[in-house]
């Protein structure tokens, strides 16, 4: 999970300029700025939106587990480790920005089963994210998941407001399901 190469767009809106940050697959972004809208387009991927309503800090990640997560086989276990890592990266960035773990609330989006030959990928990603939030005690207050259509999500991280729309004929519909993003240096061991 990287926090680089976010696409940014500036648009005029009401009293000032708003900045859109496109959260790409394999990345996350955390902010407390009211003028930033986090946005992404999801197929089978999951976007977790977290926010702390007291600190007014929020963030979004965007990930895809290419195999059903689980500990009973090596591919599932690898997906599980990657998914937990993706969630932890987002949570840690939230905490560094001033959020308090016990106050964090979650939204979940995505997990569509876009391709008939990959029926379970979206569902498996939803299940992973829901299990993680339950196990880690993070309340899930809103979700728009599953189905067969892609979604566009806009998240005002500072206020926790989100908008989710079903979209069609977008690039995500053509995208192949890809394996988890490799993470530079991950798993490396250095003994002092």
């Amino acid at each position: 999970m990287q926090r680089i190469d976010h696409q940014e767009f500036h648009i005029g809106a009401g009293s000032g300029i708003e900045r859109r940050v496109n959260v790409l697959q394999g990345t996350s972004y955390v902010t407390g700025k009211p003028d930033i809208i986090l946005t992404t387009v999801l197929g089978s991927c999951i976007a977790t939106c977290l926010y702390d309503p007291i600190a007014h800090i929020g963030g979004m990640n965007h990930f895809l587990l290419s195999h059903p997560a689980g500990l009973n086989n090596s591919e599932g276990a690898e997906s599980q480790r990657y998914g937990v890592y993706a969630m932890e990266m987002l949570i840690n960035e939230m905490l560094k920005a001033g959020a308090v773990r016990s106050r964090i609330r979650a939204h979940l989006y995505g997990g569509a089963n876009l391709h008939s030959g990959m029926k379970t990928i979206g569902t498996a990603n939803i299940q992973f994210a829901q299990d993680f939030l339950r196990d880690d005690g993070i309340p899930l207050i809103h979700s728009h998941v599953g189905g067969i259509d892609a979604r566009r999500v806009d998240f005002r991280a500072q206020s926790g407001q989100a908008r989710c729309r079903v979209v069609q004929n977008v690039e995500v519909l053509q995208r192949k399901v890809t394996p988890p993003v490799s993470t530079k240096g991950s798993g490396d061991v250095e003994l002092f």
Partner: protein
């Protein structure tokens, strides 16, 4: 016995699975404070700790352990999403035995555990 310290229950479950599959007994704590409470009456062979945790983070835990002669020689591995040299140096200076970057590879983790335990 290995004490794992991480504020994420999901991460603790992953660690428990990886270590128990290799024959190790595992005890879990959710942060540095909980770890120190358990350590008052118990002596693990190894501590594996996260860095970013509420109440007491991994640096605080390492410093607290190395501040007592009782824990002088107990190996402490840091398992973290952090990869900066600054934080790695801080952990080393505080007395950590090693540094592992998440997401962990079970085989590399097991290898490191074997090396510090023997």
């Amino acid at each position: 016995m290995i004490l794992t310290v991480d504020d994420s229950k999901s991460m603790r479950m992953l660690l428990r699975n990886a270590l128990t599959q290799r024959g190790y007994e595992v005890v879990e704590a959710e942060d540095g404070v909980a770890a120190l409470e358990w350590l008052r009456d118990n002596s693990p062979g190894l501590v594996i700790t996260d860095i970013n945790m509420p109440r007491m983070d991994g640096f605080g835990l390492i410093e607290a352990l190395r501040g007592e002669t009782r824990w002088d020689s107990t190996p402490i591995l840091v398992l973290t999403t952090e990869s900066s040299n600054e934080k790695k140096s801080r952990a080393r200076d505080a007395g950590a035995t090693g540094w592992i970057v998440k997401p962990f590879d079970p085989e590399k983790l097991a290898s490191a555990v074997r090396r510090v335990l023997h």
